[in-house]
């Protein structure tokens, strides 16, 4: 039996998470709103773009706003990096700065759709793992790339549902299904989840967690949207753990049409 179904703890790199909702930080209107959204979401993993952190300034506002929450795993990300070298440089700096060794690897050379570069991501992941980082790579929903990253020693894989900030839901469903089926590391669906129902969908499919930024930060009421996503994730996870019934194209009447044969 699938170990994921035995216990509902999410474990990444030896650390247990009670929430399967990860949160991004880049788009909130103020750190006060972000604070309340973090609490409402119940999240224990928060990603922050290193390019937004003043690495020269130990009292950086954004970092402090996140670090003050207890039980939060800080997940610095390398967004803006165009190749493996740039991502590596940023990761090393973040570690030197005291941001820890967890890193959300993002190599997105195309500033329009912010789609991840599979080649550079794999190169960066291999190097980062060797340097002792706990690497959570953002990838397109490519099952083979996911396996290659897993072999390289990444802690998770994070396939996108649709492009960042698009709120279009899971458009890469078939490939995410395969990634989940083949994965031996947690699968975190990242990017494109616009509604709690999208998050629920990902969890029902068997994703181990989801990461949400835009849909919460850009909502009219980010705090209640964060709470709504928490519920969506929990509902989806509960449905998955309960053993989803199978979809069919034909009706199954509760009084079988051929029941007379058994009379």
């Amino acid at each position: 039996m699938d170990v994921k179904k035995n216990s509902d703890d999410l474990i990444i790199a030896g650390r247990t998470f009670n929430s399967r909702l990860f949160i991004g930080t880049g788009k909130f209107s103020s750190s006060a709103v972000m604070d309340r959204a973090i609490i409402a979401s119940g999240t224990e993993m928060i990603t922050v773009a290193l390019r937004r952190v003043d690495l020269d300034n130990p009292a950086d506002d954004l970092l402090n706003a996140i670090m003050k929450h207890e039980k939060i795993q800080l997940l610095p990300n390398t967004s803006g990096a165009r190749d493996a070298d740039e991502a590596l440089r940023l990761a090393r700096l973040a570690r030197e700065m005291g941001c820890g060794n967890w890193i959300k690897l993002e190599v997105t050379p195309d500033p329009r759709y912010l789609l991840p570069d599979p080649v550079e991501t794999l190169i960066a992941a291999e190097k980062m793992v060797k340097e002792g980082f706990i690497v959570l790579p953002y990838i397109n929903a490519d099952p083979i790339l996911a396996k290659r990253l897993e072999e390289a020693g990444t802690a998770t894989v994070m396939p996108l549902g649709s492009p960042i900030g698009s709120n279009r839901g899971i458009k890469t469903e078939e490939n995410i299904r395969i990634i989940i089926e083949l994965a031996t590391v947690p699968v975190v669906v990242d990017a494109g989840l616009g509604m709690p129902s999208h998050a629920a969908h990902a969890m029902e499919m068997g994703a181990d967690a989801v990461l949400v930024n835009t849909a919460i930060a850009s909502a009219h009421e980010p705090v209640s949207m964060a709470a709504a996503f928490k519920l969506g994730v929990e509902a989806g996870r509960a449905a998955f753990s309960s053993g989803k019934t199978v979809e069919t194209l034909t009706a199954h009447p509760s009084s079988p049409l051929t029941g007379f044969l058994r009379d």
Partner: protein, 369 residues
């Protein structure tokens, strides 16, 4: 390069295309997922004027989804006001009798330090066009110094060769801003009567050279007030779309500089209303959902406060447009007078008051080794 695409368009045919659009074309364009040239033209057309509110709602929504609730701040740093051109609208016109100077490296560093203390982490270096007063090597030296401190350093200087841009990039410059001023070739010739700037195509292909040199950000703009803003807007969008497809690793930015009074007594030939400016910003956002849209202190408080949430992603604050303006005011004359003189601190309060988060740093110098 863009001159090839530009050669397929004349000002008159684009103008006809724009002015020939009707209400139905606009409605069609507003519901289209990706825009054809005709649909793009419809959004600039007079027929689209009654749809401004709809466009503003759409523009604002796209911006919040793509960029979040933030405005990124930057500051211009003028290195020199010496210039060999005679652009009729510009305070630095070589024929103007103004106090001129080129800062020394130490003076530039003083200016930069003050901007850093004020909170800025993104700085834009500017000069006139004077390769003797400000050679590429000097700009490189400045870049190396400034780059140690700031998250992002861009240049808005005379157009360079690809190799020179590459050199600037290697010295730590990550962004290039180069306004075409106008995409109307005849008007371009009239307002740029002398100097290297006379060469329309040299300037038009400047962003291409920057793209080839690998700049991470490429900024373009028309100077608003020289020609019909609808046609100018269309060409600007065309240029931006071309750049974003060709140099797909670079982030494209568009500014909306309305001409201001400058030393020399120039009066803009075309009036650009607040309405037109707002229209342009919203349409640019709809056409280019991912472009950085920049609004400087050229604009008065009233406009800046009201359009900042409609599509703008970058604003300057507390700017000076003369060399030495931050630490040694009065030593040199400015390029134009700014309209919004609020301090960066005050600007942050205003931005927050609009439900947006002022962001000082949205880049990292360590992207470039």
């Amino acid at each position: 390069m863009f001159d090839e695409l530009y050669a397929h368009h004349t000002w008159e045919t684009v103008k006809e295309l724009i002015y020939g659009c009707n209400e139905q074309d606009v409605q069609h364009a507003l519901s289209a997922e990706s825009l054809s040239p005709e649909e793009m033209a419809a959004l600039f057309s007079p027929a689209s004027d009654p749809f401004l509110e709809t466009m503003a709602v759409k523009s604002s929504h796209i911006t919040r989804m793509r960029f979040g609730n933030i405005i990124q701040l930057y500051a211009p740093l003028y290195i020199s006001n010496e210039c060999t051109n005679s652009c009729v609208y510009c305070g630095f016109n070589r024929n103007n009798d103004i106090k001129r100077m080129t800062l020394t490296l130490d003076q530039v560093v003083d200016e930069a330090n003050l901007l850093y203390e004020r909170g800025f982490r993104h700085v834009l270096l500017l000069t006139g066009e004077h390769r003797k007063a400000v050679p590429v090597s000097f700009l490189g030296e400045i870049a190396e110094h400034i780059h140690r401190k700031f998250a992002s350093v861009s240049i808005e200087v005379y157009p360079m060769e690809t190799d020179e841009y590459r050199y600037m990039s290697q010295r730590g410059i990550d962004g290039l801003t180069l306004y075409q001023e106008t995409y109307n070739r005849e008007i371009y010739s009239e307002v740029h009567p002398a100097g290297k700037k006379k060469d329309f195509l040299w300037r038009l292909t400047g962003p291409d050279r920057g793209g080839m040199a690998g700049f991470r950000k490429i900024g373009i703009a028309p100077l608003l007030g020289l020609a019909d803003w609808r046609v100018e807007g269309y060409f600007t969008a065309l240029h931006a779309l071309y750049l974003s497809k060709t140099y797909w690793r670079s982030h494209i930015q568009i500014s909306f500089p309305r001409l201001r009074k400058a030393p020399g007594g120039f009066h803009p030939p075309v009036e650009i209303s607040d309405y037109a400016l707002t229209h342009l910003i919203c349409v640019m956002r709809i056409i280019l959902p991912d472009a950085g849209l920049v609004l400087s202190t050229r604009e008065p408080e009233y406009i800046r406060d009201n359009v900042m949430s409609l599509g703008i992603t970058m604003m300057s604050a507390g700017s000076r447009t003369e060399p030495g303006g931050y630490t040694r005011p009065g030593l040199a004359d400015n390029q134009f007078s700014i309209e919004d003189s609020r301090s960066p601190e005050e600007m942050c309060r205003v931005i927050r008051g609009h439900g947006l988060d002022p962001v000082w740093k949205d880049w990292d110098r360590d992207f470039i080794s």
